[in-house]
Structures are given as structure tokens and as C-alpha cells.
């Protein structure tokens, strides 16, 4: 690519090498023409507007060229003189085509002066739209690339978290094993305790039953052994005790 640029710049360099006979310093030009020896890369941007012209035809450089010798009116005098010379010597002949040219030119000039600005603005707008579209595409491309880069970096950061995953998994496994082991211990303990408690409970139950039975048996025997004679005697004693008690109560009252 650089080679192409060098090739483009080569003619410019070639032109610049032998300075043209028209001395450059005399031209008070609004633009520098082929003065530099360097080949500029990348090329400088092309100028937006063309060279200045007066009356739409004559470049400004001509007036500037004549200014030192003839002042401001010089070129106009020259122009008038030339025109009169052509007319009087009939180098330019006035015929019907002159009239046609005059009409056509006046119409054209009127049209350009009246509509030129609008047409130019419209064309500029079209161009602007094209540029804006291209720019939008470029900006979007830049943004999407940037976003893609950020996404990739984020994914890389995410990937670093895999250690957590495996730690969590190992924790899970360890906890599961530990819980299992403890459950087994508890089971053993519970079973043994259950059996021992069963034995103790059996014994206490048996003892209880024996006691109850014993008590009942004793009661039964005692009740049986109370003969009717003894019953009458005990009833009489009770009555006497009651009488004594009631006497005592009457006395107290």
C-alpha cells in the first residue's frame, strides 16, 4: 500500500524537481503549487472548494498577477480594451447567434443564481446522508468489537470461578460422608440403648406385676381370714370407740 502511495507521489516529486521557468515566488498565489520536494504520505485531503474566480470566469490569480503593475483597474481596462478591439476589428462578428447566446446565457445565469444555492444544499444533503450512514456503520462496528472484547474478558473472569465449583462439590461429598458416619454411630447407640432399656423395662414391669399380685393375694387372704366372730367383735369395738369419741366431743362442746 505504501508502494502505491510512493508511486502516486512520484509524479509530484518529478514535477517538483526542475523548477518551472515561471518563477514561483512572483505568483502571489492563493495555493502553493508543487513547491515541496517531499512526497507526502498519506496524501493530504483534497481541498473542498476550487480556486477563487471573479465573475465566474477569470481566476483571482490573474488579478493578483496584474495588481503590482496596473493596480485594481488594470485587468478590467485590459478586458474592455480587448473586447472593443475584437468588436471594432470584427474579429468577433455580431450576428443572430450573438443574440441567441445572450438570451441563453442570461437565462442560464439567472437560473444558476436563483436555484444554485438550493440545488447545492440538496446535493450536499444527499452526500451527508451517505456519509452519515457510512459513519454509523463504522461506529457500530467499533462498538460491537469493543463489546465483544469486553464479553471475552468477562468470560475469562468467569472461568476463574471454577475452583469454587469444585470446592463446593468436595464439601458436599465430605459433608455427606460425615453425616452418614454420624448417622451410623447414632444408629448403633440407639439400638444398644433400646435393647438395654427393654431389659430394664421388662424387669421393672415384672416386679410391678409381682408386687401387685402379692398385695392382692395378701389382701384376699386377710379378708378371708377375718372370721364372722372377729368381725362382730371388731364392729362392737368400733361402736364403743365412736361412743367414747362422741362423749368426748359433747364434753368439748
Amino acid at each position: 500500500m505504501l508502494s502505491r502511495l510512493v508511486l502516486r507521489a512520484a509524479p509530484a516529486a518529478l514535477r517538483a524537481l526542475p523548477p518551472p521557468p515561471l518563477a514561483v515566488g512572483v505568483l502571489h498565489a492563493t495555493r502553493q503549487l508543487h513547491t515541496t520536494q517531499q512526497s507526502l504520505a498519506p496524501l493530504p485531503p483534497l481541498p473542498e472548494k476550487g480556486g477563487e474566480v471573479r465573475h465566474g470566469l477569470i481566476p483571482e490569480e490573474f488579478f493578483q498577477f496584474l495588481y503590482p503593475k496596473t493596480g485594481v483597474t488594470g485587468p478590467y481596462m485590459l478586458g474592455t480594451g480587448l473586447l472593443l478591439y475584437f468588436l471594432s476589428k470584427e474579429i468577433y462578428v455580431v450576428n443572430h447567434e450573438t443574440v441567441a447566446a445572450a438570451c441563453i446565457l442570461s437565462v442560464i445565469i439567472y437560473g444558476v443564481k436563483r436555484f444554485g444555492g438550493d440545488v447545492a444544499a440538496f446535493a450536499d444533503k444527499l452526500n451527508e446522508e451517505k456519509m452519515a450512514k457510512a459513519l454509523a456503520v463504522k461506529n457500530e462496528a467499533i462498538n460491537s468489537l469493543q463489546a465483544a472484547i469486553d464479553e471475552e474478558k468477562k468470560e475469562q473472569w468467569r472461568v476463574e470461578g471454577r475452583t469454587y465449583l469444585f470446592d463446593a462439590k468436595r464439601n458436599n461429598v465430605a459433608m455427606l460422608l460425615e453425616a452418614n458416619y454420624r448417622e451410623r454411630l447414632m444408629m448403633v447407640y440407639n439400638e444398644v440403648k433400646k435393647r438395654l432399656d427393654y431389659q430394664v423395662a421388662m424387669q421393672t414391669l415384672k416386679r410391678q406385676k409381682e408386687q401387685e399380685h402379692m398385695i392382692q393375694w395378701v389382701e384376699k387372704n386377710v379378708v378371708q381370714s377375718i372370721t364372722p366372730q372377729q368381725q362382730k367383735e371388731s364392729v362392737a369395738k368400733c361402736i364403743m370407740d365412736l361412743k367414747a369419741l362422741s362423749k368426748g366431743a359433747h364434753a368439748a362442746l
Binding site: 468470560e155 471454577r162 458436599n172 460422608l177 451410623r184 438395654l196
Partner: protein, 161 residues
């Protein structure tokens, strides 16, 4: 007991949660709930079962020798530790993950380099206002009209207009 006491590594769940991509959220949630359930279960179980009061039983159980027999067998009993079948698999998974992540990171870096290159190209482009058509074709080769393949205007298939 060394095989049993695999110390539980503290997992920073917050940092972990940050790094989970949204399409793997359900898996992460499942893992977390499982972890929480296991933690709760573990916390509910005492580390050692309470000691059996042999003296009380010896005094109260009438059957001769039963308590002694139980005590002897109980203290001789070794509860087998549950066998750890998964840790090896997890380690293998981790190795594999390390490898695949290294590959992924490589590919990712290559992609990033590519993107960076294109980004630089875009950033260093001259503005469109100063471009000629030649410059445009250099910057975007796809805009170049193939005059050999389509020698007649518009130099591209009509469908592409």
C-alpha cells in the same frame, strides 16, 4: 480417623454467584440448595453419640453378664466409615476442567487479538469525508467492484443492487 476429617473448605458463595453465567443459574441454585440441605443435616447430628451409662445398666439389669457382654461388644465395635467413591471423580473433573478452560482462554485470547486488530484498523481509518473511492476500496475490500468477473456496468449481479 484422618480419612474422615476432610476439613470443609469455606466456599465464598457470593463470589461464586457473581461468576455464574445466567444460563447456568438453575444448576448453581440446585448445587446451593443441596449444599444447604447437607449442612443442615450435618449440623443436626451430634458429633459423637452420648455415652451409655453402663453402671446404671449393670446395677439394674438382672440377667447376669448381659450388660458386660453388651459393653464388651459395643466398645469393640468399629463402625465402618463410608467409602469415598466420588472424590477421585471430582479431582478428575477438575483436571479436565482446568485443561478445557486453558484451551478456552487461549481461544478467547486469540479472538480478543483479532478483535483488537480490527478495532485498530477502524480507529486508524481516515474520515470518510477525505476518502477517495480508492481509499474506500482499500479500507473495505468488499466494496471493490469486480471488473473482471462482471465486465459490464453495474459490475455486480443485479440482485445485489
Amino acid at each position: 480417623m484422618a480419612g474422615r476429617r476432610a476439613a470443609l473448605k469455606a466456599v465464598d458463595w457470593a463470589a461464586f454467584a457473581e461468576r455464574v453465567p445466567p444460563n447456568q443459574r438453575p444448576m448453581y441454585n440446585a448445587l446451593k440448595t443441596r449444599n444447604d440441605a447437607l449442612t443442615a443435616r450435618l449440623a443436626a447430628l451430634p458429633e459423637k453419640p452420648p455415652a451409655i451409662d453402663w453402671a446404671y445398666y449393670k446395677a439394674n439389669v438382672a440377667k447376669a453378664g448381659m450388660v458386660d457382654e453388651f459393653q464388651k461388644k459395643f466398645s469393640a465395635l468399629k463402625v465402618p466409615e463410608p467409602v469415598d467413591t466420588q472424590s477421585a471423580k471430582i479431582d478428575a473433573q477438575e483436571q479436565e476442567a482446568a485443561k478445557s478452560t486453558a484451551e478456552y482462554i487461549q481461544a478467547s485470547k486469540a479472538r480478543i487479538a483479532q478483535y483488537e486488530q480490527q478495532l485498530q484498523k477502524f480507529k486508524n481509518m481516515i474520515p470518510f469525508e477525505q476518502m477517495t473511492f480508492e481509499d474506500l476500496h482499500e479500507a473495505f475490500p468488499e466494496t471493490k467492484l469486480d471488473k473482471e468477473k462482471y465486465p459490464y456496468w453495474p459490475h455486480k449481479p443485479i440482485a445485489d443492487l
